[in-house]
Amino acid sequence: MKRHRRRRTLAPYLFLAPSLLCVSLFVLLPFLDAVRRSFYSAMSGQFVGLQNYRTVLHNAAFRLAVGNTLRFTLLCIPVLVALALLLALLLQAAKDERGVYKTTFLAPLAIPVASIVLLWKVAFHQNGMLNSLLSHFGVQPVDWLQTDWAFLVLVLSYLWKNTGYDMVLWLSGLQNISPALYEAAQVDGANARQRFFKITLPCLLPELFTISVLSLLNSFKVFREAYLIGGDYPHDSIYLLQHLFSNWFTSLDVDKMCAAATLVALAVLLLIFAMQAAWGRKENR
């Protein structure tokens, strides 16, 4: 029995081995090396203990980047999750045209980032389409990309690009809820609001965890748009952690970069664990 159980648990690992090997080689080991480098000086290799961490935490640029990244994450993820859920619910109701709407909302994912940035520049440049439209209403032109408005443009870009993806994940979750639950609730006299809050939302909690984690990870990819719009040093409002890491690498501040990366990774990991504890699927023991 024991041998049989051991054989059953061995098979998945054998299948996982090749992927695990690649992930270890290209992700895990480099990350561990980055953690190691965070305790040493960049070029001389001298052990400096926590000095790099102290330098990073006192660095004004790091604080600015962390603040912007946090602000972006805290604003975008709830909005994105809620908006995607709303759209999924609407699509769930529209049985006939669902395919068309799904394609429409997923289309932004397929557009290359460079093309998107080109569109944003045409739309939001000081001489762009939006200012041209607003001038008809007597509004003074605004430099959308070089002022605090740049943050809003970035949020808009992120929402526009990722709503479809989250919507599809919500849809999948919605379709996994057994209709029998709704029927039983209806029989018991529950109205639509009650069914939503008592059945739909609780059943979607595991999906909420997955979608939140994926949205969090996707939020870091918005750096591409920010970089293409503003270069190495964009407006302060869209100066993100990746800008800082990229610039630190250019100036060979690899020690600070590794320390900051370690701190960020720890923070993200803790957040994911917290979300899993709150919303994750409870495994049968």
């Binding site: 054989r7 061995l10 098979a11 054998l14 299948f15 081995a17 090749p18 090997l21 000086s41 960049a42 070029m43 001389s44 660095n59 004004a60 640029a61 600015l64 980047a65 070089q146 270069g231 190495d232 040093y233 407006h235 302060d236 100066y239 800082l244 990229s246 610039n247 630190w248 690498f249 250019t250 100036s251 060979l252 501040d253 690899v254």
Partner: protein, 766 residues
């Protein structure tokens, strides 16, 4: 059960195959490898030998060719304007009489003249084109120079061939301007008795012995080969060698060069064809051979390892001897020449054992010059010069720096770095660069170099990087105006007091920000890297005062940062001569800058520059905000502390700073070597340059090489330079963006300074 077993087996096999796939039996040695895995050294290389000069006097060569008896003949003229011929026999030159050729040249015309093209031998006779200069212009502003084509027969008979070169040819290949007349630069007699004339950027023109045009072979002209009923010349648009049938004029074939040559246009590079029909090309890239009826170019001599690659020299003569060796004449812009021979040595390794890698962000002629000079003195060293940003590459500067940093972190970086555009302060802070104090400290103390310049990157008594050249921002103009250009504020005051005078050529806010950034930034950027808001606000105010003096359609307020790290610091010579503005601004990097600016001011002053001490009043350092004299460090060199070739790297740095390397004018920076700087002041050439507009909107401006006193004046000012300043594209972009509101009137200078301070916080805090 069986399925589960087979599933497990499959999984195990998959995992094992991935784990073990990379291992295998030891690879069999490649054909040129030994069993021990070592590759034997490839042997055989052309070695350069210096040949004596044919003469000891000032001399202009017109042609170098191979005589039927395998001797080399050079024909040129001395300062007396008499043509002479020298023939190389063995290791020495013998003067030979050219008889009727010299007489024909003397009698060709009374005007100032020059031999534009010459070919032939004493036995076959000569063909010569004489360029007669003229001061008159045609309706398009083109000078009415004329060309006289002469044929000198072996018996001395001189015949003029009536070829009209000024006729404009429709449809002739010209990537720059199809309406320009042709300027002949090569002439040859074909096997068919016809005359072939080459004109750069136009093509080859075939004339009958009577001067009647028979065929046009479109192409780059300049250099061409002609034998066996075939004519070959380059086409720079496609980068191909095109072979024509001389009889029909039709293209026979095209041979691609696949980017082998850095340039195939105009007169860059010379071609020759040997008796077997092989074609050879000599240029800065080296000597290459194209076998008859083949399409592959074979490298015979690598330019970057010999004098061919020296940026200060260009190929002006090229022959191949019957023993397979090559003789090349190299010409320098200061009209000196060298003759070198390349002889094949089968016992010499094709590549030296010691390899020194030199990296530069962009191409740097000073660094290349030093690389070749080091190799010539040390044949056992091969200097691999690499440019991080290639010409056609889409890589950005940041990408290139990151790629370099990756190599440095892996311990595989280059031995020597040309640090222009690289994060020097970061490299110094991280210990990437070697301390050069021991290497150069004594020489600096002895006054061999401009101490203020070479000591720019000295930190705590250690010298980590050394600028080997410098740029000097300056203004030129009439004494009255220059006297008020002591500072930016003083210039703005003077501009406001004289509203009828336009101070500078470019008066838009962005142009002014760029022009004055170099000289003013040291005042408002503190040593700790913070912005002095008060001084920056003053800077903005003065810039606005200057900009506001522009009137009418010249007034441009809107800022639109174009990026690219381009500094303006240029002025139109036409506008200055015409009195449209008062001051020329320029970043002085070469005596050619002096020629332009002094020549233009000379025109402005009615044709004469002031004498004695008054000369100094037409020239001044570009106004700034501080008390120092600003210079721009250029060609900054550093040695990678982790280099495995430290001795060779130190020799390279020594070569870069040597008088020999610093004396040639590379157009990219004045020398920091004092002896070389003083030699520059003695380098009085006979250069003449003229500027004219295509639509004749301004009269032609002709300027001459400046006198020694003018060159000395500039050199004296350079020696006083004491404040380094470099362009920072990132900071420049922030300045332009954050001050746009101020120039548009929506914020005060103080507010703009605060905005910039806030904007630069992240950048400076990093």
């Amino acid at each position: 059960m069986k399925n589960k077993t087979s599933t497990k087996l499959l999984a195990a096999l998959l995992g094992l195959s991935l784990l073990l796939g990379g291992c295998g039996e030891k690879a069999k040695p490649a054909p040129n490898e030994t069993e021990g895995g070592e590759t034997p050294t490839a042997m055989g290389r052309y070695i350069e030998e210096e040949l004596p000069l044919p003469h000891n006097e000032a001399w202009i060569s017109h042609t170098m060719q191979l005589l039927p008896d395998d001797r080399i003949q050079c024909i040129g003229e001395g300062e007396d304007g008499v043509l002479r011929s020298y023939v190389l026999s063995g290791e020495s030159w013998q003067e030979q009489d050219v008889g009727a050729l010299s007489t024909a040249y003397q009698q060709s015309g009374e005007e100032d003249k020059y031999v534009s093209a010459l070919s032939g031998t004493p036995d076959e006779g000569y063909l010569m084109i004489v360029h007669m200069y003229s001061d008159e212009m045609d309706e398009n502003g083109e000078p009415l120079d004329r060309y006289v084509t002469l044929q000198v027969a072996p018996d001395g008979t001189v015949t003029e061939i009536p070829i009209d070169y000024r006729r404009k040819w429709e449809g002739v290949y010209d990537p720059t301007n199809p309406n320009m007349p042709i300027y002949p630069s090569a002439i040859r007699r074909g096997e068919d008795g016809d005359i072939y004339v080459g004109a750069a950027y136009k093509g080859i023109f075939r004339y009958s012995p009577q001067g009647e045009l028979k065929t046009v072979f479109p192409g780059d002209g300049g250099a061409f080969v002609l034998s066996g009923g075939e004519l070959g010349q380059f086409n720079s648009e496609d980068g191909e060698l095109v072979l024509f049938d001389t009889e029909s004029g039709e293209e026979k074939s095209r041979i691609a060069t696949d980017g082998l040559f850095s340039s195939v246009s105009g007169s860059g590079g010379l071609l020759l064809r040997d008796g077997q029909g092989d074609i050879y090309r000599a240029d800065r890239d080296g000597i290459y051979r194209l076998g008859k009826d083949t399409t592959l170019w074979e490298q015979m001599v690598l330019g970057e390892m010999c004098s061919l690659g020296l940026p200060s020299l260009s190929v002006s003569g090229f022959v191949r001897l019957s023993d397979g060796s090559f003789v090349v004449r190299l010409w320098s812009a200061d009209s000196t020449e060298r003759y070198v021979r390349y002889v094949y040595s089968a016992d010499t390794p094709s590549r030296p054992d010691t390899r020194l890698s030199v990296y530069s962000l962009e191409d740097n002629s000073n660094a290349r010059q030093a690389a070749i000079q080091l190799q010539l003195k040390n044949p056992q060293v091969y200097v691999e010069f690499r440019t991080l940003l290639e010409a056609d590459s889409s890589m950005t500067t940041s990408d290139a720096i990151r790629a370099l940093n990756t190599e440095l972190l892996a311990g595989k970086g280059p031995d020597v770095l040309i640090l222009d555009g690289l994060p020097i302060d970061s490299y110094i802070e991280k210990g990437v660069l070697l301390d050069l104090e021991e290497l150069l400290g004594e020489r600096i103390k002895n006054g061999e170099f401009l101490e203020n310049v070479v000591g720019t990157y000295r930190r705590d008594g250690k010298l980590f990087a050394v600028p080997t050249r410098l740029g000097f921002p300056a203004v030129w103009g009439e004494p009255e105006t220059v006297s008020h250009a002591g500072s930016l504020s003083a210039l703005a005051d003077y501009a406001e007091q004289n509203p009828d005078k336009r101070m500078l050529d470019h008066l838009s806010p962005e142009a002014l920000l760029r022009d004055f950034y170099l000289t003013c930034a040291p005042a408002w950027l503190t040593e700790s890297g913070q912005l002095d808001e008060e001084r920056f606000a003053q800077f903005l105010t003065d810039i606005k005062r200057l900009s506001d003096t522009a009137t009418g359609e010249d007034r441009e307020v809107r800022m639109n940062y174009a990026g690219g790290g381009v500094q303006t610091l240029s002025s139109s010579p036409f506008g200055m001569v015409a009195g449209e503005f008062e001051l020329m601004v320029d970043l002085m990097q070469s005596n050619h800058n002096v020629m332009l600016n002094a020549g233009v001011v000379q025109h402005r002053l009615g044709g004469e520059l002031p004498q004695g001490g008054a000369l100094r009043e037409i020239f001044a350092p570009m106004p700034g905000q501080g008390g120092g004299t600003v210079f721009q460090p250029l060609s900054i060199v550093g040695i990678n502390a982790a280099s495995g070739q430290l001795e060779a790297a130190k020799e390279y740095v020594g070569a870069l700073l040597s008088q020999e390397c610093q004396e040639p004018d590379s157009y990219y920076g004045y020398p920091v070597n004092r002896a070389a700087l003083r030699a520059w002041t003695k380098n009085v050439l006979s250069s003449v340059q003229s500027f004219s507009t295509s639509n004749g909107s301004y009269p032609e401006v002709v300027i001459y090489w400046p006198e020694e006193r003018v060159l000395s004046m500039v050199a004296d000012a350079l020696e006083q330079a004491n404040t380094p300043s470099s362009y920072n594209d990132t900071l420049m972009q922030m300045v332009v963006e954050e001050t746009a509101g101020f120039f548009e009137g929506s914020m005060s200078a103080g507010e703009a300074a605060k905005a910039l301070s806030a904007r630069t916080q992240a950048y400076l805090a990093e």
